[in-house]
């Protein structure tokens, strides 16, 4: 590896806004997450009807990844097979679990909803959308711990398992939601080095 790892791009979604590399790219009206997500999706102007079937966590991840990976640079052929996804989450699929449990009480269990009662389905949706077949993992932690994630991802690069990685944090419960995704890879361009401190800075900004 001749180029050191750099943070190539970041995307953050919270409080009805979407930021890419610190710049606002979308602001929804003050509304429920569901309304925000639909508006944000329409603003993307893409054809992907499956979006509407996803649960809120998957929609959040989908939107963040769509902004993060937009552009030819991030969709080069062969790259998808060497792209990894390493995310962390706190509340698992609790938002959907609650909806599903409510349905069970009414004997109206929806198979489509049950599919989303696992937190890593959002990872699956991203992989399906972007054709990613590399290593993918979801950690459960009470708070976002960049240090552990950075060490893990750096190790994947060191072992040459991947050439790019989508990392970050994604959590949603009711109307509280936060997605923080970054794309990391080797680069000789001037960009933020991939360090715990830099990831933390991006996360809290």
């Amino acid at each position: 590896m001749t180029h050191s790892l750099k943070l190539l791009r970041s995307c953050s979604i919270q409080n009805g806004t979407i930021q890419v590399d610190g710049t606002n790219v979308f602001a929804g009206p003050p509304a429920t997450f569901a309304a925000f997500a639909t508006a944000a999706f329409r603003a993307l102007g893409i054809e992907y009807p499956k979006f509407h079937k996803m649960d809120n966590l998957a929609k959040l991840g989908f939107l963040a990844a769509e902004h993060l990976l937009a552009g030819q640079d991030f969709r080069a052929p062969g790259l998808a097979a060497r792209t990894g996804v390493v995310l962390a989450n706190a509340t698992s699929s609790l938002d959907t679990d609650l909806r599903y449990e409510t349905q069970l009480r009414q004997r109206l269990a929806s198979p489509a909803l049950f599919v989303y009662t696992l937190p890593n389905i959002v990872v699956g949706e991203l992989c399906i959308r972007h054709g990613i077949t590399g290593e993918n993992l979801l950690f459960m932690t009470e708070r976002y711990e960049p240090a552990a994630q950075v060490a893990y991802v750096a190790n994947l690069f060191a072992k040459q398992r991947i050439d790019r990685c989508l990392g970050g944090w994604i959590d949603l419960l009711g109307q509280e939601y936060r997605a923080f995704f970054y794309l990391v890879g080797p680069s000789s361009e001037a960009a933020l080095p991939y360090t715990t401190a830099n990831v933390e800075t991006l996360f809290i900004s």
Partner: protein, 87 residues
Amino acid sequence: MQDLKLQLKELLVENLNLQDIKPEEIGDDQPIFGEGLGLDSIDALEIIVMLQQHFGVRLTKADNGPQVLATVNSMAEYITTHPQPKK
């Protein structure tokens, strides 16, 4: 029969989150899986639950699931030939 078919189309749009499609746009004989409305195996399961919930019909393994669910026509046909059992 026409009311039933329209009802089916409205239910499909609502239950399967087909946000960009209006019920009237679904053809009676239009294949709804694969290329049709882009539905997959999970959607098939949703439809089975939907038919049970709204019409009391329960598809068993003996019924030819793929055939019954293929179009609005085939679903309407199945519902009218399998009346809801008395509760």
